[in-house]
C-alpha cells in the first residue's frame, strides 16, 4: 500500500520493511523515499539546535540523513512495529543529528576545567532560590551548602564526583563526557543514578530529605 506524489509518501510499516529488504528497483525507490522524508522533516526538527542560516546547515542535514539511512538499514531487524516506521526513523535521525551537534559544540571544552572553574549551567534552581534572604537565612543556606558538599565528598568516588559535576552541574552532554573518558551514555547515566541514590540514602540516614533542605533556599 503506497503511493507517491510530489509532496507525499504513504507506506505502511510492512511496505517500508519489505521494500527496504528487497533488491533492485524496489529498494532504490524505498531508499529515495526515505531520503525525501528525512530531508523534509530533519531541517525543522533540528533547527532549534543549529540555525537554518548557518553555513553548515545544509551539509549537516544531508550528512545526518545519509548516516540515518545507513543506520536504519543496519538495524532494520530491530524495528518492532511499536510505532510508525517513519517515527522510528526520525528517532534515529534526531539521535544522530543532536549527537553530532553536541560533540561539535563541546569539542574544545576540557572536563577538568568544567569541574573546577566554571559557573553552574543555567538551571531552574536559579528561579527557585529567593535572591535576598535574611542574615539568618544566609547562614542557614551556607550551612546546607557546606553539608551537601561534605556529604558529596564522603559518599562519592573522585570519578563519580567529576562526572556528576560535569554532567549534572555544568550541563556537559552525557555522550560528550562518555567520549572523553571512554565510556558510553548508558554507563554514565547508571553511574550518576548510583551516585544520586548514595547521596539520597545518606541524607535519609541523617534524618533529612531533599525537600526539607530545598525549603531553606525558598525562604
Amino acid at each position: 500500500m503506497r503511493y507517491n506524489c510530489a509532496m507525499q509518501i504513504n507506506r505502511d510499516n510492512e511496505t517500508w520493511l519489505a521494500d527496504l529488504r528487497a533488491e533492485g528497483a524496489e529498494k532504490e525507490a524505498a531508499l529515495d523515499d526515505l531520503h525525501i522524508v528525512l530531508l523534509r522533516v530533519l531541517p525543522s526538527a533540528l533547527s532549534r539546535w543549529l540555525p537554518t542560516t548557518s553555513s553548515h546547515f545544509e551539509t549537516f542535514i544531508e550528512d545526518t540523513a545519509q548516516e540515518t539511512i545507513l543506520r536504519v538499514l543496519d538495524r532494520l531487524d530491530t524495528f518492532q512495529g511499536r510505532s510508525k516506521f517513519t517515527t522510528w526513523v526520525y528517532k534515529i535521525g534526531v539521535n544522530i543529528g543532536l549527537g553530532q551537534l553536541r560533540l561539535r559544540k563541546w569539542q574544545e571544552v576540557s572536563l577538568d576545567g568544567l569541574e573546577e572553574g566554571s559557573q553552574p549551567d543555567e538551571m531552574p534552581s536559579e528561579r527557585f532560590a529567593s535572591p535576598n534572604p535574611s542574615p539568618e537565612g544566609m547562614l542557614e543556606r551556607k550551612n546546607v551548602i557546606e553539608m551537601v558538599q561534605q556529604v558529596m565528598k564522603e559518599e562519592l568516588t573522585p570519578h563519580q564526583h567529576k562526572v556528576m559535576m560535569a554532567v549534572a552541574v555544568q550541563g556537559t552532554p552525557l555522550n560528550v563526557v562518555a567520549e572523553r573518558i571512554g565510556s558510553n551514555r548508558n554507563a554514565l547515566y547508571k553511574l550518576i543514578h548510583d551516585a544520586r541514590l548514595r547521596l539520597k540514602r545518606r541524607l535519609e540516614r541523617e534524618g533529612l530529605s531533599p525537600a526539607d533542605l530545598l525549603a531553606v533556599f525558598n525562604e
Partner: protein, 95 residues
Amino acid sequence: MMIKKIINWFMPKKRKMDDDAAMTVKFLKMLEMTEERELSCGEVYELVDQFVELKARGENVEEAMPLVKHHLDLCRECLEEYEALAAALVIEENV
C-alpha cells in the same frame, strides 16, 4: 542581567555563594526526583517513539509510561531528542 554581572565582578564572594547555592539547589532537586528504579538512556531510546506517538494522540503518558516520563524529567539529552522527535511528528502531520 548586566547589573547583576557588574555586581558579581566587584563582589566575588557573593558570586561564589550564589554559584554554590545554585549548584546545591540543583543537586537537591535531582535527589528529590531520584527513584530506586530508573530507566537508562538506552531503554528510553527504545521506547521514545512509542511515547511520542501516545503523547501526540493526547493520551496520558505519565500514566501510560511513567518511567519514560520520569527519565525525560531528569535527562536533558533524552528530553532534547524527545522534543526534536515531537517536532518531527508535527512537521510530518502538516505536510
